[in-house]
Structures are given as structure tokens and as C-alpha cells.
């Protein structure tokens, strides 16, 4: 079982929109769409764990709000600067949603 939280990303959302359309036009069943999403979850978790190797740091002007619920942290930060080696990107307000990274080791069998 892989985390479903990556469905709430650009890639996940666009996939869900596409699947919804196919369901609406009767081209696939909702069950099949769900299978696709589950597969997406696994792929996304694995790809991030195995293929992404970069590190970055960030500094926030302020932590406005934090919430810890069902083992999920949610933070709302303002004036955030992300640094990737020498490159920089800024966000006025940034929401971080984080699941427990230790609870589910990514499945390597894909």
C-alpha cells in the first residue's frame, strides 16, 4: 500500500481529470479508473524514492499554522525560500502536507 497523497499533485490531478472524462463517456468503468490510480500511487511513491536524488533547503519567514492529524502534518508557511544548490525559488505562502516517511517503506518490487 502506497500513499495516495501524490494524487494531489499536478500529475495526479491531471490523471484523475482524464480518468473522470473517460468514465463520463462510458469508455472505462470506475473500477478500472481506481486500478489506474492505485498503480499511479505505487509508481509515484517508488519513483520519488528511487529516482529523485536532489536535496534542497528552505527557510520560511513564518510558520503560520500547524496541524497534526492522523499522522499527517500540515503546515502553512509564509515567505518561503527554497534553495536547490545555487538556485532559488520563492513562495508567498506555502502549504506542506506530509505523511509519515517511516511508516510505509516504499515497495521495491515494481
Amino acid at each position: 500500500m502506497a500513499y495516495q497523497l501524490y494524487r494531489n499533485t499536478t500529475l495526479g490531478n491531471t490523471l484523475q481529470e482524464t480518468l473522470d472524462e473517460l468514465i463520463q463517456f462510458g469508455q472505462i468503468t470506475p473500477q478500472l479508473a481506481l486500478k489506474v490510480l492505485v498503480h499511479f500511487d505505487r509508481t509515484m511513491n517508488n519513483s520519488l524514492a528511487l529516482k529523485v536524488k536532489n536535496r534542497l533547503t528552505f527557510k520560511a519567514g513564518k510558520l503560520n499554522t500547524y496541524r497534526f492529524c492522523d499522522n499527517v502534518w500540515t503546515f502553512l508557511l509564509s515567505d518561503v525560500e527554497f534553495r536547490d544548490v545555487s538556485e532559488l525559488c520563492k513562495g508567498e505562502t506555502v502549504k506542506i502536507v506530509a505523511c509519515d516517511g517511516k511508516a510505509v517503506p516504499p515497495t521495491k518490487d515494481d
Partner: protein, 325 residues
Amino acid sequence: MAANQALVAKLYRGVIEDVINGVREAFLDEGIDEAVLLELKQNWENKLQSSKAIDPVTDPAEASLQNKLQQSQQTSSAANATNATSQPAASSQAKQPATTPTPATTTAAGGATAAVAATATTPAVRMVPVQITVPPQPGVTGHTAAKSITVHVPAHALQGGAAGAQLQTILSSPAVTAALSLPVEMATTVLQQHINNALQTTAGRSQSRADNGGVTQLDGPGDSSDDEDDVDDDDDDDVEEEDDHDDEEIDADNDENADEEPLNSEDDVTDDDPSVLFETDNVVVCQYDKITRSRNRWKFHLKDGIMNINGRDYVFQKANGDAEW
């Protein structure tokens, strides 16, 4: 972070390929044509492309522009909510300079027709009937009894200030005094004409204020007495003067504070509403290794994250950060 974006594009392509290949069998099992699977892939890629999340940020100026757009979008919903209320307040303030006394100039008769036209064709200009009582004039034949002449003047002329003073001047001019000794009908016509001509400079003003009258005023009690209490009757003269006095005070206040935010701008509303609080377009989805806090200092150790910042996607294996609460 151009390098990161190249990484994102590569990662996404890999995920799409993987997902499509991985579900091919499931599609076949349900007897669904391969074309549907390809359509899924195509549409997914198209949507991803049009999201612009993996478009490279070409230059910093564009990035900051993007940033600004994002911000304005974020605030637009809140602004929409307040617009309805702040609009009338803002517009009424904008009109304030119009009420500041302007030198009462007696313009040449050339402009008079325009004024008459303005008052005649614009029903929005509020005309108030004014009764002038002429005491008996024993010297003049046929005028042994007091008579009253009713003329219509723009409401604002009855206020204090320059307009009121101007009306006073008009009514005490020799032409008017002479007209008062005419029979009532003629006196009325002559007076009306005279007032219209003389007040033409203020017609524009009253018109703009009258426009404002159509808007529901939400910034507190009336800041102008245009729309009410303007019956110049001897009985309620005192009340009227009081009203006018108050109004002038408010006007003066507004003039002083013209630079400040209009009321109802909701600049004092804190964004502590939890539902709104977690609303932002910049989202980081990730897992946490460790979250620590000492006093109000938080440290975040995150991993396997996908971020969407200012419309662009980024990924990270590890991200460490800190913030103060």
C-alpha cells in the same frame, strides 16, 4: 531551479509510461480497446502540458510576474467578497473633493443655458422648493398683504458653505429685490430663472452627488444631507442647521482621512479562519522524516516531495527547513 524542472519533466514522463504500461493488462482484462488506453495517455499528457507546471521558467522577470499573478488570483476571491461593500465607500470618498467649497464664481451668461439644460434634463438633481415670504409693502399698490413666492433650488444650495452663501447673495441682489415686488407668478418665474443662472456652476456638482445617491451607502450614516432633510421650513430650521453642522463635521473628517482605507475594506480582519488558512496554491506534498520544535522554532526534515510553487512543479528527495511560529 531549471535543473530541477528538467528532472521533473523526466520523472513525469517515466511515471506516465510506467502507469500506462502497468495498467495495460487490466484494460485487456476488461476487454477495453487499446485505443482507450492510448487516449488516456494522450489526454493525460495534454493536460499536464497545458497546466504549464513543467514549462521551464525562462527568465526571472517572468517568474516574478507569475508570482504576482498567483498572488492576485489568491486575493481575488477575498477581494470579490469585499468589493461589494468597499465600492460604495470608495466612490463616496472619491466624491468628497466635490463637496469642498469651491470659489463661487459668477460665470458669464454664455454658460447659463448649459446649466439650465443640466438641471432640466437631469431629474437626478434634487430640486427643493423654497418659499420666500415677502412682507407687506405699503408703498407699493396692491401689495398690502404678505405674499409668498416658491422657487426651486438645488438641494445642495441650502447647505452651509459656499453654495449656501451664494444663494444668499443671489437672493439679496438688487435684481431679486426688484423682482419681489412683481406679481407672484412673474416674480416666481424671474427668481427661478435668476437662481438657475447663478447656480449653474454648482449644477455639475449636485449632479455628481446625485449619482452617488443611487448607490446604497454602507459606510455609516449619511455623509451628505443632499438626500434628506432639506425642506427649508421655518419650523425645522434649527433641526436643519444641526443636521448641516453634523454633516459638515463628517465631511471635514472624511477630507482629513481621505488617504486612509475606506471603511469596510476589511483590512482589520485577521486571516485566522481555518478553512481559508490552509488555502494556497503553493503546495508541497511529501513525507516527513522528523519534525522538531524547541520553543517556537520548528525544524522540518522532509523527503520524497513534489512541490507546486507559483505554478511550476519541483521535486526533492530531501528538504530541510526551518521556521518560527
